[in-house]
């Protein structure tokens, strides 16, 4: 490990990494149980340092301003806690595997940054309107033609992009990778195009998920990206009311439920 990223747990906990370093670290940490555990514990420790400062009452006006501001501020709904899919209850069952509990405790450490990242991504949504449909379609077909794969995929893809309610959004990741999600409620399908995603070790794979308040449903594993050309993939299964699409890193072959924090979650 060239960069010795596991040594950054302390700096991470103190918010002493710059943005680029923080993202690199988080991406590494979600693949490494020991590092994520240590980062979580040190973050909790770091919050105790706050008690080493004097309490100080803010001016009364600040409270008035805050109370006034929240009246105009929309809250995130409960169903948007999709980052937490690693502990998502599926069909009301409480029989989640015990080791996912440890993993999910990682979240508070990440929540502020991860939440920002997810919502920055969601803000990039462009709703497919008539004027942009053609562009969208061209773009998707062009991207898709890079893969001479199954006609069925092509058909599903066209089904998505030609639907009147087609939506497309691109999330740019900080490392230059980008993920574009296209979906249509009418077609009841979704597809992703990824570009520049880092290659994973042979024992890991990217896995796609349909996510709703019910939890995450597996939507297929992605071929390990070996080329810088965009890869297109129609998600396995139907949209069926899913509100988000996510990508996690899983052991080769994929998992039946996510075991890591999503790299990306895109609202539909």
């Amino acid at each position: 490990m060239d960069k010795q990223l596991h040594l950054n747990t302390g700096s991470y906990a103190l918010d002493a990494l710059d943005n680029q370093e923080r993202i690199e670290f988080e991406e590494f940490a979600i693949t490494d149980e020991q590092t994520s555990q240590e980062a979580r514990e040190l973050t909790e420790t770091a919050t105790l340092l706050a008690y080493g400062t004097d309490e100080q009452a803010p001016p009364a006006q600040l409270k008035a301003d805050v109370m006034a501001a929240i009246r105009n501020k929309r809250q995130l709904s409960n169903s948007s806690t999709v980052l937490d899919i690693s502990s998502g209850k599926r069909h009301g069952s409480h029989s989640s595997a015990p080791n996912t509990a440890t993993r999910s405790r990682w979240l508070p450490a990440l929540s502020a940054a991860a939440a920002l990242a997810v919502f920055a991504g969601a803000a990039g949504w462009v709703v497919g309107q008539n004027s942009t449909d053609t562009d969208l379609q061209k773009r998707l077909v062009a991207l898709e033609s890079n893969q001479a794969s199954a006609a069925a995929q092509q058909e599903a893809m066209l089904g998505i992009v030609s639907a009147s309610d087609a939506k497309i959004a691109t999330t740019e990741m900080s490392d230059g990778a980008s993920v574009t999600v296209a979906s249509s409620t009418t077609a009841n399908r979704a597809a992703v195009m990824v570009k520049g995603m880092p290659e994973l070790p042979a024992d890991k794979t990217y896995e796609l998920w349909f996510i709703s308040a019910e939890g995450a449903v597996p939507a297929g594993v992605m071929p390990n990206p070996g080329s810088p050309t965009p890869g297109m993939q129609v998600l396995d299964g139907k949209l069926d009311g899913a509100t988000h699409v996510g990508i996690t890193i899983e052991p080769a072959g994929g998992s039946t439920a996510p075991t890591t924090k999503p790299l990306m979650v895109q609202a539909l």
Binding site: Q4, L7, N8, T9, G10, S11, A13, L14, D15, A16, L17, D18, E21, E38, E41, L42, T43, E44, T45, A46, T47, L48, L49, A50, Y51, G52, T53, D54, E55, Q56, A57, P58, P59, L62, K63, D65, V66, M67, A69, I70, R71, K73, R74, Q75, L76, S77, N78, S80, T81, L83, D84, S104, R105, L107, P108, A109, S111, A112, A113, A115
Partner: protein
């Protein structure tokens, strides 16, 4: 069917911060106000320490509380205390502000050393009487001076480990290790696991 007397007993116990956040998540402004009153001095104290400028500190504190309001549904009490969640948000926003204004005013790194020395005095002086503060003080004392210095500059000064390395004229790898070893020692001292 709930027994009426049970409800009144419940009403007597003040809600925990975790419960308050759950209520806030459902849009309860009264719960938010109680939470604000409970945690604002701690949040503002931390933000002031890191950001220093009073007007900017108020701005950051307001952003912190708007975040709490907006993201309350993301808080999960199984995964940590409400106060930790709030302080992580507060510290990160404070640091972001310091680094953003640093870009425009070119914060003098040398100033950092002086600030650290002053702020460390503060820690020793102001923690009396408070349980958590006392524990933190003891835990900090258990570190080597070099570890204390690196951790304080990073956490209270808002400096990146790269900047801390420049301030102290040592390689960043050394600072990383000082910070990590120090934080691990604090963790073990404070029994965080």
């Amino acid at each position: 069917m709930r027994v009426p007397w049970l409800r009144s007993v419940e009403a007597l116990a003040p809600p925990s911060q975790e419960e308050l956040i759950r209520l806030v998540a459902s849009g309860d402004e009264a719960a938010f106000e109680i939470l604000y009153d409970e945690v604002a001095p701690r949040v503002f104290g931390l933000v002031r320490r890191v950001v220093r400028d009073p007007a900017q500190s108020q701005e950051v504190t307001q952003e912190v509380f708007l975040d709490i309001w907006e993201q309350a549904s993301r808080f999960d009490p199984d995964k940590g205390k409400a106060m930790s969640w709030i302080l992580v948000i507060a510290h990160r926003k404070a640091v972001d502000k310091v680094r953003a204004s640093q870009a425009s005013t070119d914060r003098d790194l040398r100033q950092g050393i002086k600030e650290f020395q002053e702020s460390y005095e503060d820690v020793a002086d102001t923690v009396e009487g408070k349980f958590e503060a006392e524990r933190v003080k003891q835990a900090l004392k258990s570190l080597t001076p070099a570890q204390q210095e690196a951790i304080s500059l990073a956490y209270y000064g808002g400096y990146t480990h790269q900047e801390v390395a420049e301030l102290l004229k040592v390689p960043v790898g050394t600072i990383k290790t000082r910070i990590r070893d120090g934080m691990i020692r604090m963790r073990d001292r404070l029994g965080v696991a």
